[in-house]
């Protein structure tokens, strides 16, 4: 029951967020600021995480394929596919759900409990749109960009760790990367990235916006924002994989 209440509330929230903004110029300025916060602000952590994810996946797959019966370059191929299909979009977005999601919801939550949202309403501004729209749009473009970057870096990380640990040479690794490459997997990855980006920013904005009370509730709703965005990501990961990989 509670779920449907929240889901309905979420849809209503979105319907007020996506209305014509008061001033396009102000929205544009906000988008630039938010893109900087979300995108540039998460660059370092995404670099670190994607590089190491790629590195670890090479080692793990190398460890499982030591038999000598399969050609070495297959390691590169499996690393490529697992990173493009799953690790880069999903892990990146789970990390961003933690970083960006909690940030968004505590910012909006604080505005809510200190009556800044009320002040917007009194002025005649559509408050939900003012506080959330720019974040959702900025996230929708910067998060997939981060995923593309993560995808590339994870493959670089994979090549480096393969070389350093002596599992596979860079040359073979690249051969693996290029064998039977299907652009469809990148499309799949991007569909996931755009979906997750929307989920993270919109779910967190919703959680922030329905905060009521004080500092304690702001903390609570930012925790909820992270938990619910992660759950939504995992759920849609399953749905999209089912729909796009096994049609």
């Amino acid at each position: 029951m509670r779920f449907f209440q929240h889901f309905g509330g979420y849809l209503l929230f979105l319907s007020t967020v996506f209305s014509k903004p008061e001033k396009w110029k102000i929205l544009w300025k906000q988008i630039i600021i938010e893109a900087n916060n979300i995108g540039v602000g998460s660059f370092n952590i995404i670099s670190l995480i994607s590089g190491f994810t790629g590195a670890v996946s090479t080692i793990q797959i190398g460890y499982q394929l030591v038999s000598g019966l399969v050609p070495e370059y297959l390691i590169g191929r499996i690393v490529r596919d697992s990173n493009i299909l799953e690790f880069s979009p999903t892990i990146t977005c789970l990390v961003l759900a933690g970083k960006v999601g909690s940030n968004i919801s505590s910012e909006i939550g604080t505005m809510k409990v200190t009556e800044q949202v009320d002040a917007l309403e009194i002025m005649g501004v559509n408050s939900s749109s003012y506080v959330a729209l720019a974040k959702i749009i900025a996230g929708f473009f910067t998060i997939p960009a981060l995923v593309v970057y993560a995808m590339m870096l994870s493959l670089v990380g994979g090549a480096i760790s393969g070389h350093l640990s002596g599992i596979i040479s860079v040359e073979y690794f690249v051969k693996g990367l290029r064998s039977d490459f299907e652009a469809y997997s990148v499309i799949f990855c991007m569909v996931k990235a755009f979906t997750f980006a929307f989920l993270i920013t919109s779910v967190s904005s919703y959680q922030g916006y329905r905060t009521e009370g004080g500092a304690l509730e702001v903390g609570e709703s930012s925790t909820k924002a992270v938990v619910y965005s992660c759950m939504a990501i995992i759920f849609f990961d399953y749905i999209i994989s089912q729909l796009m990989l096994f049609r």
Binding site: D118, E121, G124
Partner: protein, 242 residues
């Protein structure tokens, strides 16, 4: 002219406003006074539509506010300036941008005109050299004054002040009082002030409504206070040493 009729507001079991009716005139400083927790802020929030009362009518110059749809309400709200009890300044914006916010949102003025208006509003509340500071870096009293500057930036027709001078020193309080009085009379604004500050009531109060435990106990003007004969009201006044 703002009129409220038979307003009832409950939070769960708690009946906060009980059948409140009152009218607030243009060009006058209309005071709502009463003890802490009496429901003053809630009444004000009902009047501007932040809270929806269970029953009652609210009219802004004969326009029925409660029955309006979102867009009609929005148009009325552009004529409302409000100073919140906790100031509600945007903490991601500096003082200048805070005051400029409604101007940027709702006018097509050039940046120079906007800054000029901002500086004018800030000078009216006796603030200078704080334009680039953020709300977290100015004092509570300064925040109040920035809040007033923001509320009057668009020359509102209705001005709501929730405790405009709590937390201010006596001198600044009087400055704020007279500022409110001045702009109220100059632009014929319907001003409503929530306060427990009896000094400012006696300085600038025109009409007074006394709210006690969610009910309106007395309404009148300054002259009528002493012979109001209302016990609760008189003891409230005596406690505030007048």
């Amino acid at each position: 002219m703002i009129e409220v009729k038979n307003i009832n507001k409950t939070f769960g079991e708690k009946h906060v406003l009980k059948n409140i009716s009152a009218s607030f005139e243009n060009g006058k400083c209309n005071f709502i006074i009463g003890a802490s927790g009496g429901g003053k802020s809630v009444l004000m929030k009902c009047m501007v539509g932040l809270l929806t009362p269970e029953t009652g009518e609210i009219t802004f110059d004969k326009r029925d506010f409660v029955s309006m749809d979102y867009y009609q309400k929005k148009d009325v709200r552009k004529e409302i300036g409000m100073l919140f009890q906790g100031t509600a300044l945007f903490d991601s914006l500096n003082v200048e941008d805070n005051v400029a916010f409604p101007l940027r949102m709702f006018t097509n003025w050039s940046e120079e005109e906007i800054i000029e208006r901002v500086n004018f509003c800030l000078s009216r509340v006796n603030l200078s050299n704080v334009n680039k500071l953020f709300p977290s870096n100015i004092s509570g009293g300064q925040k109040k004054r920035v809040g007033i500057a923001r509320a009057i930036a668009l020359q509102p027709k209705y001005l709501f002040c929730d405790e405009p001078n709590s937390g201010l020193d006596p001198l600044t309080s009087r400055v704020i009082d007279y500022l409110i009085k001045e702009i109220t009379e100059e632009y014929d604004i319907c001003t409503i002030i929530n306060t427990h500050d009896m000094k400012s009531l006696f300085e600038i109060g025109d009409n007074i409504a006394f709210i006690y435990q969610g009910q309106k106990w007395w309404e009148g003007n300054k002259e009528g206070i002493r012979d109001s004969g209302n016990e609760e009201f008189l003891s409230f006044m005596i406690a505030s040493e007048f």
